[in-house]
Symmetry: D2
Subunit: 453 residues, 4 copies
């Protein structure tokens, strides 16, 4: 048994279900059932065989422990599954049992079964992405005028608004939405080629059966079987990798803002959530931790998918098999990260007063650029930079407010009045295009939502 | 100095040039020049300053060793570059020097400069991809009827045609072409936000300057600055990773076919190419080795880009900087792999007689499926499978041709005549839909080429 | 539920058991039990509390589904486990329940529990490594004089012996054995620091309790708690990564030798093993495929462990949690690869006649170096190289044996007699130090085995 | 040209020199020179040839651009180097030129050359590691009594001392020192096997020449050539990966402590270091950024080395070549990280007053565990936990000091006096074994230093 206590912590429940043992087998049996129908429709197998075969394509009928054991010897799970299925059908209709799995080979069942699982998985991801984007859009709108410190290199840089930070997150998620749309066009495709990709075992009915099979499963019919080409599955991995990266960036930002000394935002509180076994006062960023765990693990799993693309000839040795656990794990981790981030965002506690207080923490140093630029227009950028750098050093070393230092400097006062200096040092007056950027992102979000309907 | 002897072996010359020191600095200076024009156009800086600034935006004027040294201390290469540029401008026009880099910050210059490099890089990749696809289309057409062994698990499985193998490669490349088209829409975008992404330093002219800057550089204007969101650059990495994976698969296939005992295809011969320092008879797959080197290295580099997406706040500590060498290295490796694969394919020596001889190597075992299916239609799949498996064992252990074993088996002969058996054992008669698959892929290729014009 | 059908295919049964849910919880409870004993021994908790606590430290008493659910909310599995344990103890002895988990924190239990699992895991690995090394030593000894083609760049290069190839594998495994010995000294160490690594919660008894706890669990006592330093766990990952790399190299070699056209060695046959669902003649390298799957997946998992080392302060956000599934998966994959490789090696079918036949396949070209060197001693290396290169080209293009070409070349015949040429072209006479290398490796193997006793 | 502006930012100067083009070629020529001496010593080549060959083994004589160009065609840099060397020797002594590179093959020169570079690289690493450990030992000693907040999940947890944090870093570095010692025993080994690893080209002198070559180069003589086994080089990569991980952890800690709101430690100030192009007040953690860049990039590079271990037969296609740029890049990044971390640590500005102030920031919540444990001894751990959790909630929501809340709680006051509560809430009194842990680590450090002399 694999370590399920731990791994189940990092996935959504729904995604655990999509890739459960039962679901994996059921999706393979769905392909077998559709194959029987397609074979019969084109006279490859007798119509009379369909009912018995389709009736047995039920994961509940499969002896799972025996399947697992046989899979290890056989090298894949399709061979023993077909064997069990054939026996089940034979018990109902010995004649029908002759036509199980007709014209297909292991990879057709495994790969197309995985495509069916991915269809469900991507639906979940898309729905959760939509929910998260909606929550972010609400928050960005609410905080379009909330000033906070912009931080570069993990140091205060210049004021921004909290809405702008959120709009940046949302903008990235909108791009992931686009990528998901594009991905679906390539990944939701039938894999059906028989043992070596020619469908030779179906005589002159190969193309017709393939077309019907794709129609039955509501998948695209590709120009040629693609089993030994990992790019379709790998694109799903890459897209999830990028999505998880963005979620990781959000979790990093939020967990930094939750630090004891910063304390600007907090994950929602819930019973049993985020407590410590020994420190009752802790409010741990449990949701962010799950997201960051995914963001730490998924990149390497994506590289496995990319490495595994170097597949030998018509079926690979190692490259194909490496996909089997890797892609589901990526989907589980991405789904868990999305779900947790939605929980975090939709219940986020925001302390705007603290944001303001933190803005003032450096006694005006945060506004140095505004002063530099105002002076730069008169004295040149380099000289202004040096003068303000000097004033900042003085303010920093003496604990004086930057405004006071500036006001005492004769050269500066020749260019700027006290009122000019006060105005230049007000964070709220120095957020530039933040609001217009937010509006543009919100507009793009509404356009995308409208396009979905 | 970094180890250029080695690394230059794995890139195309053109891509080395796109990411050379000189080009990197020049693209950053291109952004500075366009910024000066845009600033002046909207009255942010005096029009009189433009000529001096633009005139100095020439990498040939930059002291590179001093730039490198200062970059290490400063933590990025934009800071010392702006310093040198300002000094250069000051020497021509002291007043103009005040307006260098006005309103921008390091990441605007570095990120947008990298976008400009990527535009050139993707042009090279796209052109090379087109050439390789063309060469493959020609080859697939020529070999649509050339039978060869289909190989699964690195064992003979069933006959395919060489054209089908090539069509599979081409089909994957067509998908990469689609992905490149989609990628360009997101990556060829301006990054311009000033120190914290608000453009506050431009007062009320931020939006206008940004729009003009995008227009001047012929880049898309994004809804909001995206500096701390690595998904755009990472998508370029992922797309190159998938492309390199497909090229690696091709190189693996070709190098397997070049093995001494297989000897079906060979890389082209050229002076100084693929020889051994001690074994004069060797004809090493040097092109494939370069491609496989890229396919071994790029997946991990992609994971670096994904890991680096977890960036702190408005500018990251480590995540941003990790992109700088990684993405160029990915582009270099991908370009080198593409170039080498084109050289391999366009000069490939193909021994169709050897392909035929190898098909016969297993004394008919390769055709077992054809017999199994023919019998399966009469006796049921499982029983037919067992009977043919038994016949194969006999043929294998006694060194007899499968046809002879089958012809001596009374149960089988009750179902199949000698002529039936001979027909079933002919590889050329068992390539299924190979030809129609090839035609579909060639059609898609022609459609794509037509769409480009 | 995670996808166990698939993942269980790639692990040994024993390793699945070491990292099962039940075992994971049991090892954590083992630490809790030892902690109660150590606490009591130093008077931190009453001696009377020990029996009830220790008696409840039994995974069979734990409600696993409820544990899994609570773990997700809590952010780790120790918090809900301690809660359940406390309730179990309270039901027996309310007073004792006050002293459960005394002085420890979640990471002490999780990390030390994982160390205990690794102790068992490394024992299994070590035993399997010993068995594999033994099988290889036998085989290397048996084939010390069996000539085969040495292959570089996947082309015939020069003759080697099969024993030499095996000795190379064995030599690498011996180095892994050394690394395992060194690793154990660092990884089999107690992690015990309390909430922030000071053991403050134990007052002045911290050092004494830690010492006793280490003694009880038979682990080394480290100089300081190491929870936020991932290097110990990561070293286990790296060592397994290197081991898996060597096993992957062996599997690559063997699968290449098993190719239909090469056919020099074969994996053992077993019922249900390596068959194809549609091609009865196939004998797939199923064992090698499992090993190559591990070799494709483990490198990326190791990089996750390395990435996860960047842990924040006294307990990390993401970095720690990323270890939980990753390290067990590495152990499972490494153990499965080892087990499968042992099965492959200990039942390997070897066709020495085919090895000899393949040696002759290039009509003497393989022996070109021998001739080059013989001539080089008289004519200089470069000239000899060119002459033999020319002769090889002639032999290759005309299908003539290299010996015949050489014997007709007057310049060469001025230096070498016909007998000289025949002797130089005999593979068995050109295996250099192969035998002495084999002997040295076998000697090192025997020394290591002797040292273990 | 590769992008040297950027990559040179992340390496130490010394390591750039070890892996420069010139040094790479020189180390290969060092092997050629030693080979000529060893060949001559055992009569394989005439003694008269040695002087001319050795005299030409000077990288300054090599035409590098031509070498780079030829390397791309040849597939490695040894072939064209041997060609140039032979021409150089021929110009001096035509007879001697016949004996250049006698008995060796490309990989002997490339791999052993790389081993020689690694010897220098590991010397640098070891020296820098020693310096960093020394600086940490000093700092740990100075701050053995400096209380600071221990932080878990990026939240205040319990008090620790700054010395304890440093001792944790130092303890990890000491383990890396051990690993380096163990690594050197395996990596500083000759690779010498000729074209297929048999040394057949040396007739019966192979063993003797190999022994002399190892002696001449002061490398260990391995039991068998190891060219196709990547574990030796990969172990160097893994060891550097772990070291870089620890340095990354240190940089993460320090950069978190440098945040504007935390402000407990600061990187040293230097001219041109860590400034911003537009914000004169910034004091960016430039050193930490370099270290974190390395920690982001190296894990993936290590996985490349591990992936590349799956090498075919006696010389690989892709796996070998993938090492060439990867291992040097790892060494460069590790060295740069070490150097920067030493600069950071040796000039670290520490604000102990601020540490104390931050400890008080949560109004006593940080000390909740101390109270919980004191109460737990009387009321049981679970009940005490709940009571203190409740008090913390009250303190947090009302902004009251935890002490005041506790003192007003009758149940608690039944167990603890006001003085008890005050004592329990003093951080300095709750650092447990911190000091003894520090002493043990310092002792281990001194022992290691003593052992080196």
């Amino acid at each position: 048994m694999t370590s399920r206590i731990t791994s189940s912590m990092f996935s959504s429940e729904d995604m655990l279900n999509v890739f459960s043992d039962g679901a994996t087998v059921q999706r393979m049996l769905d392909v077998e059932a559709a194959l029987a129908r397609a074979d019969a429709q084109h006279g490859v197998i007798p119509a009379s065989a369909v009912q018995a075969i389709v009736g047995c394509c039920d994961a509940a009928l499969i002896d799972m422990p025996s399947l697992m054991k046989a899979a290890r010897l056989a090298g894949n799970r399709a061979i023993p599954l077909v064997r069990q299925l054939t026996e089940l059908v034979a018990a109902r209709d010995a004649e029908a049992a002759k036509y199980v799995h007709w014209g297909a080979t292991s990879q057709d069942i495994i790969d197309t079964g995985l495509v069916l699982q991915l269809r469900e998985a991507l639906r979940l991801i898309d729905a959760d992405l939509g929910k998260l984007a909606g929550a972010l859009a609400d928050l960005a709108g609410q905080h379009r005028h909330t000033p906070m410190a912009g931080r570069t290199w993990m140091q205060h840089a210049l004021p921004i608004t909290f809405g702008l930070k959120i709009a940046g997150w949302l903008d990235a998620l909108l791009r992931h939405g686009e990528r998901l749309d594009e991905l679906r066009r390539r990944i939701l495709a039938l894999q059906f080629g028989g043992a070596a990709g020619t469908l030779a075992s179906l005589g002159d009915k190969g193309a017709a059966v393939a077309e019907e099979l794709a129609r039955d499963l509501a998948l695209a019919l590709p120009d040629t079987p693609w089993h030994a080409h990992g790019d379709r599955f790998t694109e799903a991995a890459c897209t999830m990798g990028m999505l998880t990266g963005t979620l990781g960036k959000m979790a990093r930002d939020i967990s930094l803002l939750m630090q004891t000394e910063v304390a600007e935002v907090f994950e929602p509180i819930a019973a049993g959530r985020g407590g410590s076994s020994t420190m009752p006062h802790k409010r741990n960023p449990v949701g962010c931790a799950t997201v960051l765990t995914a963001a730490t693990r998924v990149p390497a799993l994506v590289s496995t998918m990319l490495s595994a693309m170097v597949q030998e000839h018509e079926r690979a040795l190692g490259g194909w098999q490496a996909e089997w656990d890797t892609l589901p794990e990526i989907m589980r981790l991405a789904s868990g990260a999305l779900e947790q981030m939605h929980a975090v965002i939709s219940g986020l506690t925001i302390d705007t007063a603290r944001m303001q207080r933190n803005l003032d923490a450096t006694h005006g140093l945060l506004m140095a650029e505004a002063v530099t630029l105002a002076l730069g227009g008169r004295l040149g950028r380099m000289q202004a930079h040096q003068m303000v750098e000097h004033a900042c050093d003085q303010a920093g070393s003496t604990g004086t407010h930057l405004g006071d230092v500036l006001k005492k400097d004769a050269t500066i006062r020749a260019e700027l009045s006290e009122a000019d200096i006060d105005r230049l040092l007000d964070p709220a007056g120095y957020t530039g295009e933040a609001e217009s950027f937010i509006e543009r992102v919100l507009h793009a979000h509404r356009a995308r939502e409208a396009g979905k309907q």
